[in-house]
């Protein structure tokens, strides 16, 4: 029983850490390429916040696992099938609007999740969440404002944002589908009930998208398979190739 709980806790912590790791890497791809200098720096700050959170989540995951692996080992030496991030965060950046919409959808989930985790029965998790939630408050404010600005902007920016929403909305569902790990975390008071989280998400996201004059696609179809590790999209492998090549080519290299 204790062993099973430990395995599920490890799984949950990997999900938290892999989300921030993969999205952090994606956002960092904008470094030096963003449309204006101010956005370039802001995106780099967001990426660094996410990587910092990754160190805490995967650091704790490695401790819980107790097999002598470090956060770096988990980040740089696992392959696609061991990653537990949701599919949303591994999707390519697309244009700037698509990146900001992906960010907003994730930030809204992230904010609700971390707010709840700050009250977790696990003190270590509560501490990481309390530290991270301050950063994420700012992330969601920034991404939300940008989504509204671009959605309710020119006809070109509006059309691009609608296209991005049509593309990304089907990835929202996965963040709220509970499986055995989520149920175990919820019943132990470690993590929140995902159905309740969805209501908070909708209360934040739907008015913002309405203000952005964007239409949420109909239908409840959700791409799945990321957080269970069952089937990632093809994009994750390409991302890892770039992110991990140095540790793969020069194992143990440090500087």
């Amino acid at each position: 029983m204790a062993q099973e709980h430990q395995a599920q806790l490890f799984e949950f912590l990997c999900r938290m850490g892999d989300n921030t790791l993969v999205l952090g890497h994606r956002v960092s791809e904008w470094c030096g390429h963003a449309p204006v200098l101010e956005e370039d720096i802001a995106l780099a700050n967001t990426a660094l916040d996410l990587i910092g959170q990754t160190q805490m989540w995967l650091g704790l995951a490695a401790e819980v696992e107790g097999k002598g692996r470090s956060a770096d080992d988990l980040a740089m030496l696992r392959d696609v099938w061991d990653f537990r991030n949701v599919l949303l965060v591994e999707q390519p950046n697309g244009d700037f609007g698509q990146t900001m919409l992906r960010q907003f959808l994730f930030d809204a989930w992230h904010l609700a999740m971390l707010t709840a985790l700050a009250r977790s029965s696990n003190a270590r998790i509560a501490a990481i969440a309390a530290k991270s939630v301050k950063e994420v408050h700012y992330h969601v404010e920034r991404s939300g404002d940008t989504v509204i600005g671009l959605g309710d902007g020119t006809s070109e920016s509006h059309q691009r944002m609608q296209k991005a929403l049509d593309l990304l909305w089907p990835y929202v569902g996965e963040m709220f589908v509970a499986d055995a790990v989520d149920d175990a975390m919820a019943s132990a008071g470690i993590a929140p009930d995902l159905a309740a989280l969805r209501m908070e998400f909708d209360a934040l996201v739907k008015p913002a998208l309405a203000e952005a004059t964007l239409t949420i696609p109909e239908g409840g179809f959700a791409h799945k398979g990321g957080k269970s590790g069952f089937q990632h999209s093809e994009h994750l492998g390409h991302l890892l190739t770039q992110m991990q090549w140095l540790q793969r080519a020069y194992p143990g290299a440090s500087w």
Partner: protein, 114 residues
């Protein structure tokens, strides 16, 4: 914005007027207060579409190394500035008026460092 920038009077007007304007965000001047009790200091400028985004951009560009506890932004065109060509009449007359400095008093030792 479209008018020549009053905060940068050294910029030749012909340059700002004859070149076709790119549709850029307005320029904002950023002031940061480093600690409570200190005054805001000018740290630089940036572009942003409106004042809310200007504060956000200032937060990201100028306070990422823990520099500040308060941010002011003001659109650069709202700053009136003295003209560099006026520096003779404006500033030189005070150069020879040493009696305006409070240096002609003997400060009692008990006062200590001032």
């Amino acid at each position: 914005m479209s008018s020549p920038n009053s905060a940068y009077p050294d910029t030749p007007e012909s340059q700002t007027q004859t070149k076709p304007k790119r549709r850029e965000w307005p320029l904002w001047e950023v002031f940061i207060r480093g600690q409570h009790g200190m005054s805001h200091r000018h740290v630089g400028s940036l572009h942003a579409p409106d004042e809310e985004m200007a504060i956000k951009n200032a937060r990201d560009v100028y306070t990422r190394r823990n520099e500040g506890v308060s941010i002011w932004v003001v659109e650069a065109r709202h700053i009136a500035a003295s003209s560099p060509s006026q520096k003779g009449p404006l500033y030189e007359p005070s150069e020879c008026k040493v009696y305006r400095h409070p240096t002609f008093f003997d400060i009692p030792d008990e006062v200590g460092a001032m």
